[in-house]
Symmetry: C2
Subunit: 343 residues, 2 copies
């Protein structure tokens, strides 16, 4: 379990988590996409040596992805600690995690270093601070590829400059149900802000969960990028909350019916696919956030979000499962997480 | 509450209730469809006087339908104590009930007398005995229209002879789900047995509940008609039970999933229409009958079957309700009936 799905953060009724990542490359090494295996393994060794010295102090774990099982890798991806690109079997890469997974560093992804922090709720500044601290600490031991005019150099030109991407995972059921999300998407596109599903570029917004992230990394300083994103996120939070209230005022019973039916199915199903579970969980999460449901610990919704994914289900089961078997295990999990308790 | 939805009878896993009715007309009075108001009221008076003398002994209540509210009438219909035909406002009719509604007598329906008994489960013989006893008792005080060759005369020729209709209300989810019901329907049609929904001629088989009844009343004695129907009912029971077992053996989890999802929705909904509730109840009833659900009193399913109908809902609420309001009350009722208890 990672801090973002173990604790609730500010504005957690709309913002599930905040994520910041900084892309860096190390001078003297070719970019990872050159696929120079010698250079990649040398870099891994150098970074391992550097990190080894601060490991204890920062509570870090070095995970060599060359010896990591596909199911474990899938779990890191589902926990948002690692990107889908690192799933490949011939990858010369590593993942560094701190104790509560608030810091995760990918080595030899698209860039040599992807320093990332995810925190629960709306905490972009703090997430940036965690990344920045680590980046500066490493910066005293090695030289980042840097250009006076362009800033930090990255493998893909879209990341050049700050190498910074900030994003928020937001639950937007009211905006989605009413169709008002369309305007948000249009406005975001105009402002250079990308809106995607929870699992990156190609993923659909399952369960009304959207990832809002900056596209522009060049021409603004880090503080401006974060401030700008916070401004957009705050506006979306406000719109979502207003719409929820509007729906509650106009037909409370209908909304309650949808919420409780979703709860009833999740609390009783014996076999459920991931996308249906995500959809029903969206209603239950909304029910908790608008205080229609007061007997489920809200943190369960974040736990379930990760644990119902195929990798995590197989990890818990201790081995590979057919999709039908996963659907049964997922149902067991849903029932368990929907148990009534005093909150 | 009537005995058929307050107690369980034999083979109640498939047979909800057994019903027998005897049609009789009184010599010297024109048939009710002649609409001779004087004659209809005179007959009501004569029958009231006769019944008055045995009222105490048999625990009977005389209900003058001319002074009965539409909601109360609807409740009698929904409880299967009275036919839809007696809902009309200008009706010169009455209904006689004993204490547990195991005997109900309609006066001035299609025939002067429709003596009816409904009992829980498969109890056609006993239901017939209750009707027959009452018919004989009245027969000592008045003369039934009778023809040496044809037998008892009735308003509609389809009832001539014995005036007997026997039926069973059966829950056939496995036969319906697998489509095997088609063959049953065909075989019944060939044997002169009608298959309808729970509420008579035009009603669909909502919630997989079918009413199986004899069509032929002439040319067989009462015992033969009952024996023949029992034979057919027993065969249907066996087929339904075998199919349930077969489905359980082939994909238990799928079946359990359907059953528990239905339970989950009924136990949590805030607004539900009658036909959806009937459909979901069918799954829960099946779950109870095949022992997948062990925390709901089976009798609740029979109670709910009646109480979720519009008349009963309005009766409980104490007045007329809009359909949307009924859907809310129905949901309250479903949740209440689905409360877990030790059975």
């Amino acid at each position: 379990m990672s801090i973002w799905n173990e604790q609730l953060g500010p504005d957690s009724d709309v913002v599930i988590s905040s994520r910041v990542r900084i892309a860096r490359n190390i001078s003297g090494y070719p970019y990872t996409n050159m696929n120079d295996i010698n250079s990649l393994t040398n870099l891994m060794e150098e970074l391992n040596n550097i990190i080894d010295k601060i490991k204890k102090q920062l509570g870090l774990t070095w995970i060599d992805l060359r010896n990591t099982s596909p199911i474990d890798k899938l779990c890191y991806i589902e926990n948002h600690l690692m990107s889908m690109e690192m799933l490949g079997g011939d990858l010369q890469g590593a993942l560094v995690l701190n104790k509560d997974d608030s810091l995760s560093v990918m080595i030899n992804e698209e860039d040599h270093l992807r320093i990332q922090s995810i925190l629960p709720g709306r905490q972009l500044e703090m997430a940036y601070k965690i990344c920045d601290d680590f980046e500066q600490r490493l910066g005293t031991k090695l030289n980042y590829s840097y250009d006076e005019k362009l800033g930090f150099l990255t493998s893909c030109p879209t990341n050049v400059g700050t190498g910074l991407r900030v994003s928020a995972m937001m639950h937007l059921p009211a905006l989605t149900q009413t169709g008002a999300i369309k305007k948000i998407l249009e406005a975001c596109a105009k402002m250079g802000v990308a809106v995607r599903g929870a699992y990156g570029e190609s993923s659909k917004a399952e369960g009304n969960i959207f990832q809002i992230s900056n596209q522009v990394t060049l021409g603004y300083c880090e503080e401006e990028i974060i401030e700008n994103m916070l401004h957009i996120i705050n506006q979306i939070i406000e719109k979502e909350r207003n719409l929820r209230q509007k729906i509650l005022n106009s037909d409370k019973i209908s909304l309650e019916d949808k919420i409780f039916r979703a709860y009833g199915i999740l609390a009783n199903t014996r076999r459920i696919e991931s996308n249906e579970a995500m959809e029903l969980m969206s209603w239950v999460r909304l029910g908790i956030d608008i205080k229609v449901i007061d007997f489920i610990n809200p943190i369960n919704m974040n736990k379930l979000l990760v644990e119902l994914q195929p990798g995590n289900i197989q990890k818990r089961a201790g081995g590979e499962l057919h999709p039908a078997q996963r659907d049964e295990k997922r149902a067991d999990l849903c029932r368990q997480m929907m148990k009534k308790e005093e909150v």
